[in-house]
Amino acid sequence: MGLTEAFTLVCVVAGAILFLAGTLGLLRFPDTLSRLHALSKADNLGLGLIVLGLLPLQASLMGGVKLVCIWLLAQLSAATATQLIAGIAARRKPGA
């Protein structure tokens, strides 16, 4: 196994573990906001590591750019989604 492949595997496995951590956080943390925090961590880092790991495998520059784009878009979506959800949670709290 070459160095690149080892790098890929390490990154990718680390990413998978982060996803697992995100799920665990979703399950174990006590309140909605801290769960949200766990979720966005998993999103950010897990996908980031997997993208990082897969970058060396890309045949073309275009493929690499696309991967980075995916990660950036995921960041953007996750950030907004988190805020939206936090907003709902905040609005709901007084009533509930």
Binding site: F19, G22, T23, L26, T32, G46, I50, L67, R91, R92
Partner: protein
């Protein structure tokens, strides 16, 4: 290598789906939404890994779509959330 990538893809998918499975049965709507979000990102990661494993670079496009639209359901969800049944302003049927 493809085998290990597929295995990792399976792990990511299971991790995202496990959260969904547990949350869907018990918790409140927001947490279900969060689990769906997690599945969206996890799904994108899974697709990237599968694409690398099976040498189908086009799968990255699918992942791109998933992340592009993942905030979308979240946005739709918030719309129903803002107004209570008693709200005077009915956005869809103005008087």
């Amino acid at each position: 290598m493809p085998e290990s990538l597929t295995l990792v893809a399976l792990l990511v998918l299971l991790a995202s789906a496990a959260g969904l499975a547990i949350v869907l049965r018990s918790a409140v709507a927001i947490e279900k939404l969060m689990a769906v979000q997690l599945l969206g990102t996890g799904g994108a990661a899974t697709l990237l890994l599968l694409g690398a494993a099976t040498a189908q670079p086009a799968l990255a496009d699918v992942a791109l779509l998933l992340v592009l639209l993942s905030a979308f359901s979240c946005a739709a969800f918030t719309l129903g959330e803002g107004e209570d049944p008693g709200d005077a302003a009915k956005p869809d049927e103005p008087a």
